[in-house]
Subunit: 656 residues, 2 copies
């Protein structure tokens, strides 16, 4: 492993590091006027404006709700905008005891088990790209989807109760990145691939067989809006060359029915730094152009009916079928492309090459014309390649390390610049803006921005006013919490005249969020409490076997003990449950409350059991009482002044 | 289960529910003056002042750091004050994949396994009371302790790297509540009990044997400051009557060496609503007085050397020995007591009865005089009871549902009022304040406050200026995120003239924090990066077997495969690892970075493995490669522009 090749050493441009001055703070103000308070706190007039700008008064609600992926925390975070307050975390792939997710409750355990990988419990994820469900290209507030890059999975969260209802494990791939994105009516959830493997990944093949046996993949999950579940039987995947497919976006309006995915490593580098090969970072960055994948999804769905093969229980359209049926085209895209973002009218696709200072804008019409014309180069696998200049509408030089682009309501686009640590604002041409394709301004962010997002920025009708910058490093921005530092979300205010100003730093003290979507709060219609007492969040209906008030009981049948319990401020019924060591215990609990926020918890110590019973909710746990002794269960929510008294004794008599 | 007894129905006083008006928001301001921005956002002059008050400018650091228990999330949260920004979450009892806590890394798996309960993995907790380490009664920024009420455990977190280093399972009890609190030089970590069980809890006894076989417990864990670990061999517990011991506080200055614990359920109610008995909430609330437990810790530690018995591997001082050696006294305390808080000079102990509108203040000197005098009543177990009036210094009527009290630097105390949903400010008498024992003012909070905290408020030298109210219900304060709503931390500004004003609402979108402590930021000295490359956070020293740059290798020995890997922007070495199905894999990884914030992740899909390698950190994983196929590991941190290329292939050749 001693021989080394020279390769590109990426430079992390951090920008100027500010000198740190702790806030002078002498125990708060004296209730005086703004000027004196400001002076006391060492604030400038600009600081005050920024403070006012971001301030959402106590008790008022944010007009926007942001859904952030939880990165390698495996969750989704719900954040108010512009206050940048974390409203809650939603357990998705990783158990969360405080919300009773994956700690004994049958409903959530079943969802998490759907995500098992080849029969193995995988209880974390690297969640990347949340996708809000859409109707006619606008967020509709019904559901949100998210992918697990690490293990190749997709989850469905119902936005009535902010509860994860389904996880699908892709049986073909062990990783994904380029999703989730949804089509304009949420007919399909797109799960783009990332690192090529054999298909399925469980079929071992040596790396020397890379070009013959390794393949890329994009998967189209059919979403059943009635059932609010992915219908795996109607879903299919499309085999792709063993390039590393990256972010996808779904077409809309004139491009509806098409999907666009970036890619890199068209070099088909296979790494092996230990053998003197260039590492992936160098080997996968040699080509000047990689390929934007242009996919005719609607036609592919038709063709898949007859020409898909079954692999590991999943319908797969072979690459040759995709080529033969004119489902797949490539368009060259410059240097280490990353984001691919469709403009609001569906007419343009914006891509960024991380090692190219431009964004490149393709015209959907030009792509269609080129397909019509039919003059193609071919890649080594026979995929038709559209000429770059035939597809290109414009290029705009923005700066170093452009990654992702979102849009506003005034014909401007916002692109993150990772190496510059900045956000660029630039004008769209065409019907959008008389300014044409032109850089307008940039604002520095701290530091190393990945994605960015604008309110409703990925829809057919984006709002303006704000940009949220998702910065990967925070370095000196906050008091350091040991060697592991938070990420930094920055709220950028965009004035009517286009001036951009960073007005708030929100440290992300948990897993690295990759992407967020921001929806108008009034599009969401969450339950305040569950519609009826005895509600099963799994079926979203009353569970006929739920414990009912006045019908609490303990029933023994051989060594099976079944318990029906209720909870209401401030007691459980019953308060004593006695079993024999080794008994199989099935315990039904119902929260009888109908008041908003009257959640009760149920903690059974020693047995790794924690439930969160929201008002009306019914839940069931199953376990074997294998440890003798006296176990004190209790309500984990501070539900009333006498909440400490809300407890019970679980007695396990020793056997033998 | 049909017969019911009347009992107290606690009333949850919510205060006035504000009408909700969404913030009018038209995409941000126009960069104008404060007045026009304020007008645009519908803010009053008061709102602006509040905004300015709470605003910590971007890039500047908070002067205070707040450590919040994570409630039934099982973690600790680190929050800046006054900005109320979540700086990070620390994995304590619950695995956290994004920080590589409990997902394959040997170090953290070993810590979590220390917390197994009777051999069973219990991977969550109900963390209650964080206690910062102290030197001479002041927070010293070295470590923080926290208890798990649900399962009777205590954890130790090192504040150099904000990493959990130790979990101790109390072998006697299955639950605790009244801790953790530390003595003024962190010689002892106090773990108070809660619900009585047999000792140990694994010894089944029927509830009919409650008075004879069930016992309360307080445990004193010896902390070894050099080793920065609890020394279980030097620790001991004290058996107590089967009342439900509640919060403890350690004496300081003149009361140093003593410990004070509240209690309730001196009725020894055993519940059983299903049999027509009063439920615990009623049965445990009948007496007018319960008992403050006054414990001579220093003397108990001496006596324990000779008179403690070994129970389940733990030294236990029997109740009779505690009585005989004059280690334990009771003082009556009014109606359903909860908090017990020692004043800064150690001279007074403040208790609150949840169902009594007063706080009661005891004089430590009066308690000592009464002990000296030696005229006691006795409880049914023979514990001497000091006369209430002999110990009482004062009572102050504050309002409904007083719970907890902290202090400031001007001789005032702040008490949470659960039923009133308010914070009361009152003057201490004695040497503290010429105002005597007197209610000064109250401020409403939203809603149902539990604990509160002031900066350094639990030390011998509290700061003033702020109060943080830990409110259990938020109801209408934020946009609702389904039936499960956040808690609400409110920042109260306390002006020099004593005026209190709620200036910020911070939703807690994860487990319910019970208590927080707030330390001056400049007392913390966190590592910016680990001191040397190859650092083991478990031993806090370089691991001699850590992978080193230039010495990466894969070594096979029979079916054991050992791998030494390194990570540096933006590649792993090696990039290919091939094993046979069924091999035992031991994989050492070192992050070679020495720059602050240059963390690399290591995600091995399909095997439930996620590491977070902070700069310099070395970690080891062990697993059996039981699933064949091609697995794509990668760095989960967006560490450079080419971070997507930072990956490798793990090949598992099928057996047979």
């Amino acid at each position: 492993m001693r021989k080394r090749m020279p390769w590109i050493m990426p430079v992390v441009a951090l920008g100027a590091v500010l000198a740190l001055v702790a806030v002078s703070c002498n125990g708060g103000g004296s209730g005086g006027d703004v000027d004196s308070i400001a002076k006391e706190r060492g604030l400038s007039q600009e600081d005050i404006e920024a403070a006012v700008q971001t301030y959402t008064p106590s008790g008022e609600h944010d007009p926007y709700i942001m859904f952030a992926s939880g990165g390698h925390g495996g969750q989704i975070h719900v954040i108010g905008v512009p206050s940048m307050r974390l409203l809650r975390t939603i357990g998705v792939f990783t158990p969360e005891p405080w919300q009773g997710y994956g700690f004994g409750g049958e409903t959530s355990e079943a969802v998490l088990d759907e995500g098992n990988v080849a029969g193995k419990e995988v209880r974390w994820a690297d969640t990347h790209h949340p996708a809000l469900s859409e109707t006619e290209g606008d967020y509709d507030g019904q559901a949100i989807f998210i992918n697990d890059k690490a293990n190749g999975r997709v989850a469905v969260v119902d936005l009535r109760d902010f509860d994860t209802k389904q996880i699908v494990k892709n049986p073909l791939v062990i990783n994904d990145h380029g999703g989730t994105k949804v089509t304009p009516n949420t007919d399909w959830v797109v799960e783009g691939g990332q690192y090529a493997t054999p298909t399925p990944y469980t079929n071992y093949a040596p790396i020397s067989d890379y070009q013959s046996k390794y393949r890329g993949m994009v998967t189209f999950w059919k979403y059943d809006k009635e059932a609010r579940r992915i219908d795996t039987a109607q879903s299919f995947a499309m085999e792709l060359p063993p390039y590393w497919q990256d972010l996808c976006d779904a077409g809309k309006l004139e491009s509806e029915g098409w999907v666009f995915c970036g890619s890199f490593n068209t070099e088909m580098a296979t790494g092996g730094i230990e053998d003197g090969n260039p590492p992936f970072e160098a080997g996968a960055s040699e080509n000047d152009m990689d390929y934007l994948h242009v996919i005719n999804l609607n036609k592919a769905a038709e063709v898949a009916q007859s020409q898909a093969q079954d692999i590991n229980g999943m319908k797969v359209l072979p690459l040759q079928a995709a080529i033969d049926n004119q489902l797949l085209y490539f368009v060259p895209e410059p240097k280490s492309p990353h984001g691919a973002d469709v403009a609001p009218k569906g007419d343009y696709i914006v891509v960024s090459g991380k090692l190219d200072p431009h964004v490149t804008i393709y015209s959907f019409k030009k792509i269609q014309d080129a397909i019509e014309k039919g003059e193609f180069e071919k890649d080594p696998f026979g995929v038709p390649i559209i000429n770059f200049d035939d597809a290109k509408e414009a290029q705009v030089e923005l700066g170093l390390g452009p990654l992702h682009t979102e849009f506003d309501d005034k014909g401007y686009a916002y692109t993150s610049l990772f190496l510059d640590s900045a956000v660029a604002r630039w004008s769209l041409g065409g019907d959008y803006n008389d300014d044409g394709w032109k850089l307008e301004s940039k604002v520095p962010v701290q530091y190393n921005i990945g994605h960015l997002s604008t309110p409703e920025g990925d829809t057919v009708s984006p709002d303006g006013g704000y940009v949220v910058a998702l910065n990967k490093w925070s370095i000196d921005r906050f008091f350091p919490t040991g060697p592991l530092l938070p990420q930094n979300f920055q709220l950028i205010n965009v004035a009517d005249n286009g001036d951009m100003k960073v007005v708030y730093d929100m440290p992300i003290g948990f897993g690295e969020p990759h992407y967020v979507q921001i929806i108008k709060a009034d599009k969401l219609e969450p339950f305040e409490v569950y519609p009826e007492v005895g509600w099963d969040p799994g079926t979203m209906a009353v569970n006929p076997n739920a414990a009912k008030a006045g019908e609490e009981k303990v029933v023994r049948n051989g060594n099976n003990v079944e318990i029906w319990s209720t909870a209401i401020r401030s007691h459980f019924t019953p308060e004593h449950v006695e079993v024999q060591q080794g008994d199989n215990v099935t315990w039904h609990l119902t929260n009888l409350e109908t008041s908003q926020d009257a959640t009760h918890g149920f903690a059974l110590p020693g047995y790794n059991i924690s439930l969160s019973l929201e008002p009306g909710e019914a839940e069931t746990i199953n376990f074997v009482a294998d440890k003798p002794g006296v176990y004190t269960w209790y309500c984990t929510e501070f539900c009333s002044a006498l909440h400490l008294e809300m407890m019970g004794y679980f007695f396990v008599q020793p056997s033998g």
